[in-house]
């Protein structure tokens, strides 16, 4: 474990130094020939590093694959990497720097705050951004702009798909509560899940759900016991949690002795991929987790299998996080768009991306022309701790067709329920 991550760090360091050497501040050329330059912008340090680093790996594999196959339009892809430290101001500076170095095609971004900040300056900088994880609904709703694209699902799709599966599988569980971090993303996931419960329980379980007021939690804290206690007092049986990363680990760990996971079932985790499960291993309580991409759900898709094989080879990790698939897909989207927008000019790239259908590890995806939201399958898996070498196992997974749970395209208009 320790050894592999250190090797990762060194590998990342290698990329960074190479990127640094390429990225001299006084170079201001936008090449019309030579390789297409793609700028990766993601959290490579700070609290979201463990999300940004795998995303970058996916991006790198895609670039290698495409270049090995002769590139796009006979031109190679060149990757320039910048760290946004999950801070909006650092992200905007890095984005501007990437554009200054001739990378007007940007991708990556973990944090919604960074995505919103960078998205706001895209038009001014004449650049395009495809985000691979940032989930804020505002990006394709009230703060939409034409230079921004999202390659993955959004809370409306993800959380409603989760509610869909719950109504289908746990029709008898009609009381639901939530443990929600008190920020925009947290509230937005809850609103969407709440909407999904109200939509699918009457439809699929023939029952009206009773939904409690969610417990709003802090984030970045070290003590969630009072929130867990509040949730324990709540009569709801099913629980939805959208705490993230380290916060989720802390919360689950402190919830365990209260018998939270014995009393509350099922638990739906909004988006933690395998991050929390890999950390908690045998102690990880069973829950349904939303994911960007799960290789086990798409076996048989050659792109999927190849990506999973290469990633496991490189990192030794068996349960791969969805960020890898999304980084990979974003590069694929650019490569596909460049086939028609061979100039690489921003206006052309935007035009080519709108309505684009392309191959990805989750099968065919289509980018909606109106609000630049991608229609893609939503993935859920049921994970629990296990006494095997990995410490966890995926009991089952579900894939929901994205088109059935997607929001109507209303760019510029705030999402309301």
């Amino acid at each position: 474990m320790v050894r592999t991550t250190r090797r990762n760090a060194l590998k990342l360091l290698g990329v960074g130094v190479a990127a640094g050497a390429l990225g001299m501040p006084w170079v201001r050329n936008a090449q019309a020939s030579g390789p297409y330059k793609i700028g990766f912008l993601g959290s490579l340090s700070g609290p979201a590093e463990s999300l940004g680093a795998p995303m970058l790996e996916g991006v790198k594999i895609a670039v290698e694959d495409i270049n090995a196959a002769g590139g796009t339009n006979g031109r190679q892809l060149e990757l320039v990497v910048r760290d946004d430290k999950a801070k909006p101001d650092v992200g905007t500076a890095a984005a501007r720097e990437l554009v200054g170095e001739g990378c007007s095609m940007l991708l990556g971004v973990v944090s919604s705050a960074v995505a919103l900040a960078v998205s706001a300056v895209l038009q001014q900088e004449d650049a395009v951004l495809i985000t691979c994880a940032a989930h804020s609904m505002r990006l394709t709703k009230e703060d939409f702009n034409r230079n921004y694209f999202r390659i993955t699902d959004n809370p409306f799709m993800r959380q409603r798909a989760q509610a869909h599966v719950m109504a289908e599988r746990f029709g008898e569980v009609t009381t639901w509560g939530g443990l929600i971090p008190d920020h925009e993303y947290g509230r937005s996931t809850w609103e969407c899940f709440d909407n999904g419960l109200k939509t699918y329980y009457p439809e699929l379980a023939k029952a009206e759900p009773t939904i409690s007021k969610p417990v709003m939690t802090t984030y970045g804290g070290s003590d969630y016991r009072n929130f867990v206690a509040s949730a324990m007092r709540d009569p709801a049986v099913g629980f939805f949690v959208s705490a993230y990363g380290g916060d989720a680990i802390t919360m689950y760990q402190q919830a365990l002795p209260y018998g939270f996971f014995k009393k509350k079932h099922p638990i739906v985790d909004a988006a933690n991929e395998f991050i929390v499960a890999r950390a908690m291993k045998e102690n990880f309580p069973e829950m349904w987790i939303g994911s960007h991409w799960y290789s086990g759900a798409f076996t048989g898709n050659p792109m999927n299998d190849e990506l999973a094989r290469k990633m496991t080879e490189r990192t030794g990790i068996k349960f791969l996080d969805g960020f890898i698939g999304e980084g990979y897909s974003a590069v694929r989207a650019y490569a596909e768009a460049l086939k028609t927008a061979d100039s690489g000019k921003t206006a052309d790239v935007i035009k080519a991306l709108e309505g684009l259908t392309f191959d990805s590890p989750t099968g065919k995806r289509t980018i909606r022309a109106e609000d630049h939201q991608t229609i893609k399958p939503v993935v859920l898996y049921r994970v629990r701790g296990a006494s095997n070498a990995d410490g966890i196992e995926v009991v089952e997974h579900r894939v929901i067709d994205g088109a059935t749970v997607i929001d109507p395209a209303t760019p510029g208009v705030k999402l309301t329920f």
Partner: protein, 293 residues
């Protein structure tokens, strides 16, 4: 209702003792050297990571005594680190203005983060409580996680030991006199440099111990160093400069205010800690107690 009240009180106690464990070493160093050690949280983090690694070396489920032994071992290792830092960094900070030590130790906090990332990687890590502390006691209809009780007990024990040392032993009393008037202590033939080093090593060892004992309390990541530090600052300042008793009382007071505030005014979680710190400092500008005691 009474059960709720007890539960919130217990959670407040757990928080209070966790923060006190971190603050104890901080206030010791602050009291003697007048260095507000920003990197203290970083060394708590190193203690926690070390504990994680050592526990993973042992096979099978970890018992309480193994866990305690590992925590003490980590305290020793971090204490040695403290000795090195005393010689290389703190030694030079004595001559400069107080605020410079703030930036030097801030730089050390950044270094701790970088070091932890290099050794353990950026991914989140979790350490479960040892066997015997992973369950809960049932008191009536009240669930009391045994690990919470363990944290509370650890805090109290550490407090009692420190208090005994400072008030009942010769070396503790010497330490008090050094804190009050190093010049006079020097005149009386006390080797104050040795006392400074002792305080630093003890302070760091306490950081390592806190890290070890609290490793199962929350997730481990390179950002852990900053998690407790502001709370610990609040506690030692409200408690009064270098005052271990004060810090203990302050931790309890602030923990209770924060716990009840969070439960009864859930719209603004976490804000009550700061309101309490500001309020108490306005009422008692020198903290609750003062002088190393």
């Amino acid at each position: 209702m009474v059960g709720d009240f007890l539960l919130v009180g217990l959670n407040g106690m757990t928080w209070a003792m966790a923060v006190f464990l971190v603050a104890a070493g901080l206030t010791l160093i602050f009291g003697i050297l007048h260095i507000l050690n920003f990197s203290h949280g970083g060394f708590v983090m190193i203690g926690a990571y070390l504990t994680y690694t050592l526990i993973n070396q042992t096979s099978g489920p970890t018992g309480i005594f193994v866990f305690l032994a590992v925590a003490v071992l980590c305290a020793a290792v971090v204490g040695v680190l403290g000795y090195v830092i005393d010689r290389t960094v703190f030694e030079r900070l004595k001559a400069v203005d107080d605020s410079y030590s703030l930036i030097a130790t801030y730089a050390m906090l950044i270094l701790c983060e970088g070091g932890v990332k290099l050794v353990w990687g950026p991914d989140f890590i979790a350490l479960p409580p040892p066997a015997g502390l992973d369950g809960a006691l049932l008191l009536g209809d009240l669930f009391i996680p045994s690990y919470s009780l363990f944290v509370i007990l650890s805090g109290i024990v550490v407090f009692l030991v420190l208090d005994f040392w400072i008030h009942r032993t010769r070396s503790g009393k010497v330490m008090q006199s050094v804190a009050l008037d190093p010049w006079m202590a020097n005149v009386l033939g006390i080797n104050i440099n040795a006392m400074f080093t002792t305080a630093v090593v003890a302070g760091f060892a306490l950081a390592g111990l806190a890290g070890g004992l609290l490793a199962p309390n929350q997730s481990l990541s390179p950002g852990l160093g900053g998690t407790y530090i502001i709370q610990a600052f609040g506690v030692i300042i409200v408690g009064g400069i270098g005052n271990v008793r004060g810090a203990f009382i302050a931790a309890l007071v602030l923990g209770m205010i924060d716990a009840f505030g969070t439960v009864y005014v859930p719209e603004y979680p976490g804000i009550f800690f700061y309101i309490a710190v500001a309020g108490i400092l306005m009422y008692r500008p020198q903290g609750l107690l003062s002088g190393i005691r």
